[in-house]
Homo-oligomer: 324 residues x 2
DNA sequence: ACATATATGTTAACCGGTTAACATATTAAG
DNA sequence: CTTAATATGTTAACCGGTTAACATATATGT
């Protein structure tokens, strides 16, 4: 496949290469007739400027990278969808990176900044936090993670944890379990668990903390089954994700318990699925669209060298459905 | 931020630029000592070759684009996850494109091929099929869509539709509904609906065909509610996606019908969510991972100019859970 | 008629890395 | 000792587009 270059266009239009470039970039003096000639020539030759070449000159690829543990996780897939939308509005394309929470992959992807392949990254980074490779002047915006001096976007997870826990207490739960991910990772999302611990302690509520480092649905299910075997009196569950909440609904069904009568459940995230389960999940809603929008805006401002707000904490909200 | 170039490395290592390039590309004669000197210099300067520049020279970006109607749809997010995995194994990065089934966006993204930003596309393209912009020699692999001479990956949807419909009949359903998307789009996925129509006709089964051009969950729900109002005798539903199946479960609950006793449901896709609902969905499984793997392989072969199989039809499989 | 604004061309350097061609020096093999 | 293989340097062209500098030509206004 032969490539049509700006020279071919110049020849076809009967003008100089510089003139074609002027048309392409709308710079300098240009008559309408020349503009037309050039556009027509481009049309005839089906010419598209080589964006790699332009990127090289401009030192700008107009590509943003997004690092997530896994795009197939509903929370991240919804987030990535929004990020792509806002990036597109701003003339950027989005490169997707599954890190599988692997440090090597995270680093390898982040190096695309140094190699000029992307202009910046939005990263749900979990392993590289202590990594000295990450510098505060990098075009990097993190999600739910405060790494030295980098701007981050997060939800008010502590408040989310308070709302969820208090809501279960208000609804009369006497023994409340909290199922969450790995608390050793220093991620802001874990503030919801801190809130759970503080609220139950302060209100003197019987509590169970179940930390699961797993992530697959059937693995969650096993954890939940074991939990109910060990603590059959649990009458309230604050799940740190809607997926976990779904698995609690499942297990409750297996145990012949009815929801919300015997067990009340509050999930977290408000992914689309939360409204689809039977019964639909009462949950703490994160504004995923806003997170995406703010992440893109912040990153673009950082890329352009503007001042950016470092701490971006978005409010959460209780969405009451039928598990409480 | 000053950029470190190959010249800086050459100076730092005390060698010629060509030598650094030889090290970088492992070409020509090289002594171990020089190699070491160069690597050390790169390390000291924290040098990363400018990939844009290399792409320009090689006319190869090592980026694949993926076009989907929406990444936030679970089927596509799982698919994209697998595509990213296999692309990464082969040294490619993945650019994600939500088309929202919009012709303009599909075209705009596809033009990234001409502008050399991506080496090729895997596309779930729905609107551009009659578009003469798409040529058989493009580095493009389509999903569920047969566009003149382009390789495509699909599942054996006709068979999927047969299995689902026959299964419901075998289970004793007397009046079976089929809820599907827009049948006017000439997409291979619609073969499942053709199979439904043919099987019910042949076996002389009472059937209802509900075509919904909508896509949001709450909109599906409305369609399903209306359907049950108009046809209360329906005792079997073949839903053309697991999401639709989930909304049938929902509505059945509202109507006080129990599943599978009163209504049996077969979904389609076997997305992760299918196992998480209560009751878990009996569904026709598409091998999403294989689809992703085959799409990447086929595209890479096409990019490398190798012969590729044009028709790639993967088998489907009934996964029996608790809605039947 | 003259200064100024507008329109286009020519040329060359540049973005950063790659490569071919050629020169030269060292080392190993026969 | 000669030949060949190995190792590195120098130079210049190239990928495709951008831009600054300068030349030149026409049009416009006063």
């Amino acid at each position: 496949m032969l490539l049509t270059t700006i020279k071919d266009v110049a020849k076809e239009a009967g003008v100089a290469v510089a003139t074609v470039s002027r048309v392409l970039n709308n710079r300098g003096y240009l008559s309408d007739s020349t503009r037309k000639k050039v556009y027509e020539a481009m049309e005839r030759l089906n010419y598209k400027p080589n964006e790699i070449s332009r990127s090289l000159f401009r030192k700008k690829s107009n590509i943003l990278g997004v690092i997530v543990p896994s795009v197939s996780h509903p929370f991240f897939s919804e987030l990535v969808g929004h990020i792509e939308y806002f990036a597109y509005q701003a003339g950027y394309k989005v490169l997707i990176c599954n890190s599988y929470a692997d440090n090597g992959k995270e680093r390898e992807y982040l190096e695309m900044i140094s190699s000029n392949q992307v202009d910046g990254f939005i990263g749900a980074i979990y392993t590289s936090n202590s990594d000295d490779y990450i510098k505060p002047d990098m075009p990097l915006v993190t999600l739910d993670m405060n790494i030295n001096g980098l701007p981050y976007i997060t939800s008010d997870h502590y408040n989310g944890g308070e709302i969820a826990t208090n809501f279960l207490i208000d609804r009369g739960c006497k023994k409340i379990a909290h199922i969450c991910g790995d608390l050793e990772i220093d991620i802001l999302a874990n503030n919801r668990s801190k809130a759970f611990i503080n609220v139950t302690k302060k209100q003197n509520i019987n509590s169970v903390l179940e930390e699961s480092k797993l992530s697959r649905f059937d693995e969650y299910k096993k954890t939940v089954i074991k939990m109910f075997e060990e603590h059959p009196e649990i009458d309230g569950v604050f799940a740190s994700s809607d997926i976990i909440a779904a698995s609690v609904i499942h297990v409750a069904g297996l145990n012949g318990k009815s929801i919300p009568e015997d067990i009340k459940i509050v999930g977290y995230d408000d992914i689309d699925m939360a409204a689809m389960t039977v019964p639909p999940i009462t949950t703490i809603k994160q504004d995923i669209e806003k997170i995406g929008e703010l992440a893109v805006k912040t990153l673009l401002n950082k890329i352009e060298g503007k001042e950016v707000t470092l701490e971006n904490i978005l409010p959460v909200e209780l969405v009451e459905r039928e598990t409480t």
